[in-house]
C-alpha cells in the first residue's frame, strides 16, 4: 500500500457535489491552493454524477476541471488524527491531507424506513436506483414503483421513464393539501416552476398518488410485487423494482467527529458558513436540506469566506436567504406522517448490517441501549441506514461519533505510525 506525500492546502474541500465544486472553484479564483476530495470516481456528487447534467452541472464541473485544483477522487476521509490533518483511504492507498481551512460539503443520503420485505433484492433507494441506472444498469421495459416522500421521487420517475422504464405509480406519503400549499407557494420561485412544468411534461401519463405509501414488498429472493396503501385502500402491484426513499438526511459524521456544533441533525454555521470550529466551514445539505440552488450558493459563500473574501461572500446572502426559505417549505411539506411508524412488523429487519428486527429494538429506551444490547447500528454502515430510521420510529437521538467515521483497512489505521492514537482533545472533539 502506498502512502501519499503531505501537501498543505490553504483550502481543502471534502465532497465534490454542487456545494463542494462551487466552494473549490471560488476558493481557487481567490488564488488559494485548493484540494477537493470525494469518495466517488468522479466529481458531481449524487445529483450530477460525473455527467455534466443540466446547464449548471456542465458549467460548474468544467470550471472545476479546468481550474488549478488538486482533485482527489475515489478517496474516503475516515479519520482526523489532529487539528489540520485528515486521513483518506483509496482502493490501495492512504493520503494524509493537511489544511489551513476546511470546507465540509458532505451532502446527504436518503432516509430509508423499514417495512416488511424492504430487504428483498431490487428494493432500492429512489436516488439509489437512479444512481445505479446512471452507473449503467439497463431498465428499459422494467416496471418500477416509486414510493416515499420528497421532490426527488418525481425527478427519479422522470429520469427512469426517459430511460425506458414503465412507472405504474408514484406514491407520495404527503397529503394532497400539503402538496397544494407547497405548489401555491412556488409562485415565489419561478425557476422551480419551470423545473416543475418540465417534470410535468416528462411525467405525463404516470399515475401520481398522494396520501400513499408502501405497506410491504413481496417475493422469493427477488422482489415480485408491492402492496401499497393508496388513500387508505390496499393495492397489490407487480413490479421489477421498488425505488423507495423518504426524503434526505444530511451526512454530518465528519462534522461531528471534528467537534462542529450540530443541532436538530444539522450543522450550525454563521453568515459565512463557518461552523463552531474556527477555520472549518460547512455548505450544502448538512446545514439544512435545500437542494441544488442552496448548495451552490452556500458553497460559493464558503469558498470566498475561507479565503477571507468576505465582500464577495456577502453579495450572495440575498440569494441564499431566498433558497433557505424554499428549504423550510420542503421540510414542512414532506414531514413524515405518524402512520409510517406502524409499517414494520415484529420480525421486520431494521438494522440490515446486523439483521436486528423491530421487536428486539422496541423494548429499549435509547439508541445507545439498543446498540449495546442488539448490535443495532454497529455493522459496517455504522448506523447510517438504521440510525435515521430508529430516530423516526422510536424518537432516539443519535450517538456521538468516533473514528474511523467509515470502516478502514487495518493498515490504514496503523499506517501513520505517529498518529495511531487519536488525540481526544478539544480541537478534534472526538468525545461529545
Amino acid at each position: 500500500m502506498s502512502r501519499n506525500s503531505k501537501p498543505l492546502f490553504d483550502v481543502l474541500v471534502i465532497g465534490a457535489g454542487p456545494a463542494g465544486v462551487a466552494a473549490a472553484v471560488r476558493a481557487s479564483e481567490c488564488g488559494a491552493r485548493v484540494g477537493i476530495v470525494d469518495d466517488n470516481a468522479t466529481c458531481g456528487g449524487q445529483i450530477w454524477r460525473g455527467a455534466s447534467e443540466g446547464r449548471d452541472g456542465a458549467r460548474w464541473t468544467e470550471r472545476l476541471e479546468t481550474a488549478d485544483i488538486t482533485k482527489l477522487y475515489g478517496k474516503r476521509v475516515f479519520h482526523a488524527p489532529e487539528a489540520g490533518v485528515l486521513l483518506a483511504e483509496g482502493t490501495d492507498d492512504l493520503s494524509e491531507l493537511r489544511y489551513t481551512n476546511l470546507i465540509l460539503a458532505t451532502g446527504a443520503r436518503e432516509r430509508f424506513l423499514p417495512f416488511p420485505g424492504w430487504t428483498l433484492q431490487n428494493v432500492m433507494g429512489a436516488g439509489g436506483l437512479q444512481a445505479m441506472v446512471k452507473a449503467g444498469l439497463p431498465i428499459r421495459g422494467k416496471r418500477i414503483i416509486i414510493a416515499g416522500t420528497g421532490p426527488l421521487l418525481l425527478a427519479v420517475a422522470a429520469y427512469l421513464r426517459k430511460q425506458g422504464a414503465e412507472i405504474p405509480t408514484v406514491c407520495e406519503q404527503a397529503s394532497w393539501s400539503r402538496l397544494a400549499r407547497f405548489t401555491a407557494r412556488l409562485v415565489g420561485y419561478p425557476g422551480k416552476i419551470v423545473q416543475g412544468l418540465q417534470l410535468k411534461k416528462e411525467l405525463a401519463g404516470v399515475a401520481f398518488a398522494a396520501n400513499s405509501w408502501p405497506l410491504a414488498a413481496h417475493g422469493g429472493k427477488m422482489l415480485e410485487r408491492v402492496t401499497i396503501s393508496r388513500s387508505g385502500r390496499r393495492e397489490v402491484i407487480a413490479c421489477d423494482y421498488l425505488a423507495c426513499g423518504f426524503h434526505l438526511v444530511p451526512n454530518v459524521e465528519l462534522q461531528s467527529l471534528l467537534g462542529c456544533e450540530i443541532s436538530g441533525g444539522y450543522v450550525l454555521v454563521d453568515d459565512f458558513q463557518q461552523t463552531s470550529v474556527p477555520g472549518i466551514f460547512c455548505a450544502g445539505e448538512p446545514t439544512g436540506i435545500g437542494g441544488l440552488e442552496l448548495a451552490l450558493v452556500e458553497g460559493q459563500v464558503a469558498g470566498y469566506a475561507a479565503c477571507g473574501h468576505t465582500t464577495e461572500a456577502g453579495k450572495l446572502f440575498g440569494e441564499r436567504r431566498r433558497s433557505r426559505r424554499f428549504a423550510r417549505m420542503l421540510d414542512r411539506t414532506f414531514r413524515l406522517r405518524r402512520q409510517l411508524r406502524d409499517l414494520p412488523a415484529a420480525e421486520t429487519i431494521v438494522c440490515r448490517c446486523e439483521d436486528v428486527p423491530y421487536s428486539r429494538l422496541q423494548p429499549h429506551r435509547s439508541w445507545r441501549a439498543a446498540k449495546l444490547e442488539t448490535r443495532c447500528g454497529m455493522g459496517p454502515c455504522q448506523g447510517r441506514v438504521c440510525g435515521p430510521a430508529a430516530q423516526f420510529l422510536f424518537h432516539w437521538n443519535p450517538d456521538s461519533v468516533r473514528p474511523p467515521v467509515f470502516p478502514a483497512r487495518l493498515e490504514s489505521l496503523v499506517g501513520p505510525a505517529d498518529h495511531s492514537e487519536p488525540e481526544q482533545s478539544a480541537t478534534t472533539g472526538v468525545s461529545r
Binding site: D39, Q121, A131, K221, P407
Partner: protein, 85 residues
C-alpha cells in the same frame, strides 16, 4: 457515467461472463448477472440499496480484495468479482 462511445467491458461475476457498458460500476455488473452481492448475517441474499457507498449492502470481493463497495468501483476488462451467493 457509462460512455456510449466505447464498447462494452467484459468481466466475470462468480465465474460467469458479463458484458456491461463502459463506465458501469461493479454493482451494476452483479445485478445484471442476476446475482446477490452478499448474504446477510441471518442468511438473506442482499443487493444494492443506496447506490452511493453508504449502506454497504453491495460489498463484494473484487480481484481478490474482499468487502469492496461495488457501487463505487468502475468495471475493468477481465475483473474477477466474487459474491457470497
Amino acid at each position: 457515467m457509462p460512455d456510449s462511445r466505447s464498447g462494452p467491458v467484459t468481466l466475470t461475476v462468480n465465474g460467469s461472463t458479463v458484458a456491461v457498458p463502459s463506465g458501469a460500476t461493479v454493482a451494476v455488473a452483479v445485478v445484471m448477472a442476476g446475482q446477490a452481492c452478499r448474504m446477510s448475517v441471518s442468511g438473506e441474499a442482499r443487493g444494492p440499496l443506496c447506490g452511493m457507498g453508504i449502506c454497504f449492502e453491495c460489498r463484494a470481493s473484487i480481484n481478490g480484495t474482499p468487502h469492496c463497495r461495488s457501487c463505487q468501483i468502475l468495471c475493468e476488462a477481465g475483473m474477477k468479482v466474487e459474491t457470497d451467493e
